[in-house]
Subunit: 296 residues, 2 copies
């Protein structure tokens, strides 16, 4: 490990540093900690530009990944480090769910869109999920507070991809006092109207449609109204999940219209759902969050 | 697959297209083909900017990866696509060795620095390696000709990382009529003086030190003299393999001085041997090859 700055965690830190790699003018770190919300160890990556390593306050992006991913996919494949280095932004990539470990057995499902790798960033209320699948609380309370206490963060914007795009839209509008900006890449826009989301919410919430409504991004936006100066969403026009109806992108547009929430929605010709698409547009998202952070 | 341009291979093509993903203003393709040099199927990735997809001649970079890698690592983690899209450059990433498949059993070694994933881009002369491990012929003859016949390539520069950096320096100076530019990231600079290279060359060439000399980058540069306007090499100053003596970077500097070969050698503070380092400097290398291609 080559930690040029010997970044100092707090004296009573809950974090264990797993790796440090210099990248552009900053460092890519990985940490693990024992989560009270999920009752499991959780891992996240954090990119710290030199300004943050030197103790200056920097705006941060909390990035929620999509189905099947963990912290590695976006950290290895999205190429956020260069622009974050240039602008002096922190970029945090948590895992997508609790997972089984030596200490814990966490429930799972053979379908890739339910269970481990597929938390939807909600607090499940049905057994067996409710014991560990409390990723809403993990994100907006536990990890949120931990990040603000251990790193020099001036403000946090939230973004995500696919299932994580739904999480970013949902949590951004459900907890607008926590976040200064919202954006999404190829998001599931209305989980309760997507076959993926329906399968997951049936497990996590049963038949209680009031809970489904509280966990649906488009319904949340429509019910709370405008919260941000603008939000940015990019969608590949050749994304097979768009054609299959998993993403329900028009529902987001309708919700934002009803909420009078300014939305920049861009359909990108020829692009699919992959990290090749994510890396194509991520700099625009980093710049969106940077501009919004500087409005505050 | 979203092949907006329906790129046309030749009528009698040996290539099988495995995937297409749009990325920036271009497409990331993967191909396989049956290699005569290695007597195995071989896989490579190729990034084609829209200019190439539309049939215009573009300069290309042939990128040789390091130990343990295949075509995926650099394609997923190095983030060359953005600058190649901006400049209109083609980027080709072959595998690092022949590999066992359904049709073939290729020799291997339990050491990660010998055998599959560790060809050193030479033609082995000792059994059992000589049957398949002919990666020099594969790169400079077979794949080279195949690329020029199937894609609209105006010129080819060669670069690589670690073991692949050695391959780029070696092949660039051994076959200067084939390449218009050379650069390397964290290269092994003198395989015959690195413990990794000694182990591999003992297997591939036995005790014949004349063959070792013909497969040593620093000795090759010294023996053939200046071939390029300049070459660019980046090295992480905190790279543990540098400290261990695997890279022998001063030997490259000495060889270039003796050869009167202009060398820009940059030690980058705090950086290690990883893809986090590669992505930090790869744009400078793409621009180097672009400038050299435009000199010709």
């Amino acid at each position: 490990m080559n930690n040029a700055y010997n970044y100092n965690l707090s004296a009573n830190t809950q974090l264990t540093q797993k790796s440090v790699n210099r990248c552009f003018n900053g460092e890519q770190h990985y940490y693990t900690h024992q989560s009270a919300a999920t009752k499991t160890p959780m891992t996240f990556s954090i990119y710290l530009p030199d300004e943050a390593l030197a103790g200056q306050l920097c705006p941060a992006i909390l990035y929620l990944s999509g189905l099947t991913c963990d912290a590695d996919n976006v950290t290895h494949k999205a190429h956020f480090q260069q622009r974050c280095s240039e602008l002096g932004m922190i970029f945090i990539a948590p895992d997508t769910s609790p997972r089984s470990s030596e200490e814990n057995t966490v429930p799972n499902d053979e379908r890739y869109f339910v269970g481990q790798g597929a938390s939807y960033y909600v607090d499940a209320t049905c057994t067996p999920w409710s014991e560990h699948f409390n990723m809403q609380s993990y994100m907006v309370d536990e990890l949120y507070d931990l990040l603000r206490s251990e790193f020099t963060i001036s403000s946090i914007g939230i973004m995500g991809h696919s299932m994580g795009g739904h999480g970013a839209l949902l949590l951004g509008f459900k907890f607008p006092s926590k976040f200064v900006s919202v954006s999404a890449l190829s998001p599931v826009c209305a989980a309760s109207e997507s076959a993926w989301g329906q399968a997951a919410y049936t497990e996590y919430f049963g038949d209680d449609k009031a809970q489904w409504a509280q966990a649906d991004a488009a319904q949340m936006i429509e019910s709370v109204g405008q919260q941000y100066t603008s939000i940015l969403v990019d969608q590949g026009a050749a994304d097979n999940f768009l054609a299959e109806g998993q993403l329900q992108t028009p529902k987001l547009q309708q919700a934002c219209e009803k909420a009078k929430q300014p939305l920049t929605l861009r359909y990108q010709a020829g692009h699919d759902h992959s990290y090749y698409f994510i890396q194509t547009v991520i700099n625009d998202h980093i710049e969106h969050h940077w501009r919004m952070a500087n409005l505050n």
